[in-house]
Symmetry: C2
């Protein structure tokens, strides 16, 4: 297995202690999975900030947004027989599922792509809004389409886990477009270029029975309403991506096809990155896919954290051959790594690009 | 619990032995869950026909459509340790789910709405087509929108369970519109009237974790691409519809609102019918819902069959106050029942209509 990533020596770029919690009664548990975009000549991260109440011994808390948009806390003793808490990220209490944290999205800006700080001129945080986002919003992809930025994010509530969309041009005012893909769905990356006047998006529905956690392609006339869904990339038994796969950020246009960086996980919930290539004219046709991951958790900050052995990306910037991937490490830290687009293509049997 | 249904004395209207299997090597296991529409002055059913291979002792078969559209058979000894067969409808073999039958849709026509026979002038059967329908197509709703009939059906394959759409005007030629809602989704009923130039549909996504089997509402500019999903009707702990709910056929316009007949099931998988009412101008607003079911399995043909204790509808016709519901009984028989729309509205505290 050949790891193609050149990690930033400055990793982790951001840790929970680097930011201030959104309310005084909360603490930041994790920073993770940033959306990435260029705006006004700078590089911006839209980091997922996962918060909870400061923990007491023997008790678990689930934070939930109430109908007034305020945080409510459900408190349960850890020895409650109705509590099933076997995963750091999700618990079941009296038959209902809850997240152990509530996430919002925080804007950070950088001139060098390495040192990030909170912006002075923009709305710095986006919170869940309405009854479909009561458990928070997560893992935002940012696609620039013309002058508009399309923000697709995981919207979580007791109704299920679906995909919300907000659109902005100035990062001050956001148009709320509602839930564009119903439960159970996440990992939505809208293509930044239309093909034959159609919008395209990758998404990752999950099946309760029959099927799995696969990457699908969808079409839209307007970026808001989606149809003609097709199954594109499946998990592969016996591979590093045997349990689930999901798209990263918007695909990168290359002469050989649309290049997509994706995450895959095995049954042990170990998350690596891979790549696949879609035909330029018809992205429903997958031309190639890496057999081995292009990035595997190896560093301490990737192996150990809120949820260890995870590298997960949903944001990058491109400069010629250089792909700068920002990623969540161990579901706790924000990190960066450089890739050569040529080398990724070569790993799939294509190239070199001139 | 007050059952508002007046069952046809002729029930069951159709049984597996009444039709001929689609291929000589197959047998019809069940007839169920018809879509219903009027065309050329007659009443038509689009019945789901579930077929399998004639069973041998000690062996289970899963029928699957191959890429050439031909039926392939997977044969597994019942004592195979990799086989999990605890449900009559679905089995798990080597970690993958299979249906025990493959369904197609069969057209039947009647002048009196009671005696149905195969038509002479139309395409009599619709089969699964393409890689998203390899395990068959099921439970079709037929919505008449202008001169067009929109057929929304459950499309099943190893990729998952989603919703396919075909459109026809003459019941001879069908336009295939692909999968309009990705897995896991079913029970889609498109409103037959647009509201403020928008198409609306009820649908039933299922959640793998967080959320449940709830009825959602969706909007579309063209009937093909769907967005702005909202959660409308949830299952109710302690009620007859505690485990799952799903829309029936297209809602019925009444002066008090859009009337929808829906199915609900409890944890024991007992399926009854209920009703709810949506606001005319904005169907995202639910005005009322029956606490008790309006129809409960009581007859022998409802209590006992391929999957007992089931009444399930996705088709009806309306004549003034009379609602004629066609329904699947015990996942094996096609039956009919009359309801008074006034009485259903009254059960929700509305009416009477003049």
């Amino acid at each position: 297995m050949k790891d193609l990533a050149k990690r930033f020596p400055q990793n982790p770029l951001l840790m929970p202690k680097d930011l201030v919690a959104s309310r005084h009664e909360l603490q930041i548990i994790s920073l993770l999975n940033p959306g990435v975009f260029r705006f006004q000549g700078k590089i911006w991260l839209l980091v997922r900030v996962a918060e909870s109440i400061a923990q007491k011994e023997g008790v678990i808390f689930f934070p939930v947004m109430n109908e007034m948009g305020q945080m409510e806390i459900i408190e349960v003793p850890l020895n409650d027989p109705d509590l099933v808490a076997t995963d750091a990220r999700i618990v079941n209490y009296k038959g209902l599922d809850y997240l152990t944290t509530v996430s919002h999205l925080r804007l950070l800006v950088s001139t060098d792509g390495i040192h990030f700080s909170e912006p002075e001129t923009c709305e710095a945080a986006l919170f869940g809004c309405g009854e479909l986002e009561r458990y928070g919003i997560e893992d935002c992809r940012v696609s620039q389409i013309g002058e508009d930025y399309y923000l697709t994010y995981t919207a979580v509530s007791e109704n299920g886990v679906g995909v919300g969309l907000r659109v902005t041009r100035d990062w001050r005012q956001f148009e709320f477009k509602g839930m564009i893909l119903p439960p159970h769905n996440k990992d939505v990356a809208i293509f930044e270029t239309q093909i034959a006047s159609k919008f395209y998006a990758l998404h990752r529905p999950s099946s309760k029975e029959i099927g799995g956690n696969y990457i699908w392609l969808s079409e839209s006339p307007d970026g808001l309403h989606w149809g003609n869904h097709k199954c594109l990339i499946k998990s592969r038994p016996g591979f590093w991506d045997s349990e689930r796969v999901g798209a990263g950020a918007a695909p990168i246009r290359t002469p050989y096809g649309w290049l997509e960086i994706y995450h895959g996980a095995n049954a042990a919930q170990q998350y690596c990155l891979g790549a696949f290539l879609m035909q330029l004219e018809d992205p429903a046709i997958v031309i190639a896919r890496t057999n081995d991951p292009i990035m595997v958790p190896t560093e301490k900050y990737e192996l150990s954290g809120f949820f260890g052995y995870v590298v997960f990306t949903n944001g990058h910037v491109v400069d010629g051959d250089q792909l700068t991937v920002y990623y969540g490490a161990a579901d706790e830290f924000v990190c960066g790594a450089y890739f050569s687009i040529n080398k990724i293509l070569r790993a799939m049997g294509f190239g070199p690009l001139l």
